[in-house]
Assembly symmetry: C2
Homo-oligomer: 473 residues x 2
Amino acid sequence: MKNEEITLRSVDFAKWYTDVVTAAKLSSYSSVKGCTVLEPNGYAIWEKMQSVLDKMFKKSGHQNVYMPVLIPENMLKKEGELISGFAPECAWVTEGGSNKLEERHAFRPTSETLFSDYYSKNVKTYRDLPKLYNQWCNVIRWEKETRPFLRSREFLWQEGHTVHATQEEAEAETNRMLDIYKEFFEKYLAIPVISGRKTEKEKFAGAEYTLTIEALMQNGVALQSGTSHYFGQKFSKAYDIKFVNKNNEYEYCYQTSWGVSTRMIGALIMAHSDDRGLVLPPKIAPKQVVIIPIKNDEKLISVCEHIQESLDQKEIVSYIDNTDKSAGFKFAEAEVNGIPLRIEVGPRDLEKNEVTIVRRDTLEKASIKLNDVSNSVLQQLEKMQEDMYEKACKNLEEKTYDANTLDEVKEIMNNHPGFVNAYWCGNEECELKMKEIRGTKSRCIVESNDYETEKCVVCGKKAKHKVVWGIQY
Amino acid sequence: MKNEEITLRSVDFAKWYTDVVTAAKLSSYSSVKGCTVLEPNGYAIWEKMQSVLDKMFKKSGHQNVYMPVLIPENMLKKEGELISGFAPECAWVTEGGSNKLEERHAFRPTSETLFSDYYSKNVKTYRDLPKLYNQWCNVIRWEKETRPFLRSREFLWQEGHTVHATQEEAEAETNRMLDIYKEFFEKYLAIPVISGRKTEKEKFAGAEYTLTIEALMQNGVALQSGTSHYFGQKFSKAYDIKFVNKNNEYEYCYQTSWGVSTRMIGALIMAHSDDRGLVLPPKIAPKQVVIIPIKNDEKLISVCEHIQESLDQKEIVSYIDNTDKSAGFKFAEAEVNGIPLRIEVGPRDLEKNEVTIVRRDTLEKASIKLNDVSNSVLQQLEKMQEDMYEKACKNLEEKTYDANTLDEVKEIMNNHPGFVNAYWCGNEECELKMKEIRGTKSRCIVESNDYETEKCVVCGKKAKHKVVWGIQY
């Protein structure tokens, strides 16, 4: 698929999205219903995300482990809210080898149960605490729709599961991991996020509360991008995770869990890409620079190789496209693939000891001196990263509204959707009333000093919270 | 578990193995029958293996992808030999959400079928070839026994699946990947391997032929450690993977697959560990050096920190154990955990501007100068890596025998098992006869110039192959 064939965002955003995914060869539908294939270009983005996040997790004291993928039904059932939340989405293994199993096993939809079972056997005293574990794995949730990266029956993610001696420590962990996600989104994905607490209705099944980061796509639709859950003692009581505390008394532990998934690739695409295809921020692009000789000429290729060497030294990841395609074709291919920077090496520029660079986000061209390529490229990549973040911040700012009445909410969501700040009485009925407006949901409860003097946007009664609302993916 | 509590190898090798695993906290049995938990110390070894192998794969032109974990039964059945080989070991998903599925789905036991299905849709001309894909993932094979790393229902592995325009290229790939595995075992795991072709009986279900590397454990038992399969056109015909070749004719592709798994951790343990616990070669140890202040003293700890900084600069991975345990306890803990080198920082040594280092494999002590710690440590680690490989080579050499009669084979396998070189007529009956001797199986067919003049060790008829035989895990 070429970039001229990508549907325009203004015509059909959903179609544009799948076109961008297909053109950049990130992912494709598989013959297995409801499942997708992560192709090399898509998987490389996931690997880059993993490598950055994994370093952040380890730096903050977390260790990786691996728990079984199958969960016996009785183990899954021990915490009542979790099972009622996830049972309708489970895939069940009922036969192993040639035998029917005595008890069916769920393919993990999430692993609180397995970690809790493990902790119940391995946590004995306060000296064993905290345990800060994480795992990178696949999960299944039996979805009906399929959209690459956004919704598929199987997806890849990381799930952190920690166990602590005190409530304070567990709550601090819940906040700390949300901050790490926020930093990752802003610094690496160049996507600003809002953060806060989910309402009771929207929180994770089994959590005391759920913290979330929410991003806004170019079309004003919200994407839940990462969540961090505080469990208190719910699971430790259900799974009997007790420890001897410093006063030599038995006490139940305090737990958290937190996760982000390949869905982040969907966020990346919808936050930054354009009508010509994929746009990736340099810090997360698996390949940051393409070097293109504008014709197949030994001297030009040798210059390309010198440039690549100088980029290597600065740890900038580049590749030379010296295939037998035309220069124009190569330019277009690098564009749909979202390569952040293109270096064109042509004979006329070389006469002036220059090469041309083109930024993927702005398509701006500039001439840079051949003897200073790596510095110029580094500067451009840094500038591009900043500019993309600022542009995304501007989108967020422009599409964030205040509303005082239901009519105002309707006007916004129907004509130019975005994040809507509005007060809420805390009543689920009012939340459901909002949902009638194109499926508008509470994204999160945000901090507010003045909610006490405000009224619920739906019922007009005394407000309990300031909430950010949005249409969601 | 302390190192005094580890069963001696000479008393019970199998019990010693699980004791080493438990003492080093590598893995534990889970409440999910047949499945194990990879704990932080065990998973860290897997991560290190992944990172080295992944670089080797990428350097040789391979790309990572991710295929669905579920395989519809009809897709799995298309290649007849594969399904008959794997069906008895499949776990089947038969329910999704609250519905019974129309067609049951196998949890992937291996992914030739999914890759072939993908290639059938994405390979059109010789310009699309080769595709050199790999994936890191979990698989299930419904085993009856469970032994950490060696046998469990679910395990982690990588599976490479490549598709080529010519037989020559595919066969070269099959050999190349075996060489990469061999290099990894010898250079990083410090384990010598023998390599060759599997017999028809032992080859992968669906392969034209299977190449294998086989390692020999300390007790003389063989471990199949990595396999590389040449499929010819078997799968391309079953899954209709056709391409237009340079002569503008349709042709079926040529395929390979190759894999290694967490079983390599089992090989590591049984090849190198001793009666005091885990021994790891420095190149694969997640933590290479432990620095221990022999008492809790600020000055000693500050010296430890300086040492760590100097090791950091040489990219040697170390940690300081400044917990409130006794020095003796810390030494023992580092031993069961297989930390290659221990640095003891004590006041008497410091007076002489020295510290003491202790190698885990030999338990040899040496004094080194404080102003040259990082160089000395680097040298010691390199020497240790070499020595461990040599020791393993010696084990392999000492336990490799030639046998000309069945009685000789019996004597060897019953009293001092190892690899046995013996000629074979190529007849499966004779292979089965060998199996009666403590389960002796052909490990691989090795190259031989003289097989024509030799006789089958079982039936005495004309030999067709020289074969290495062994008792297996």
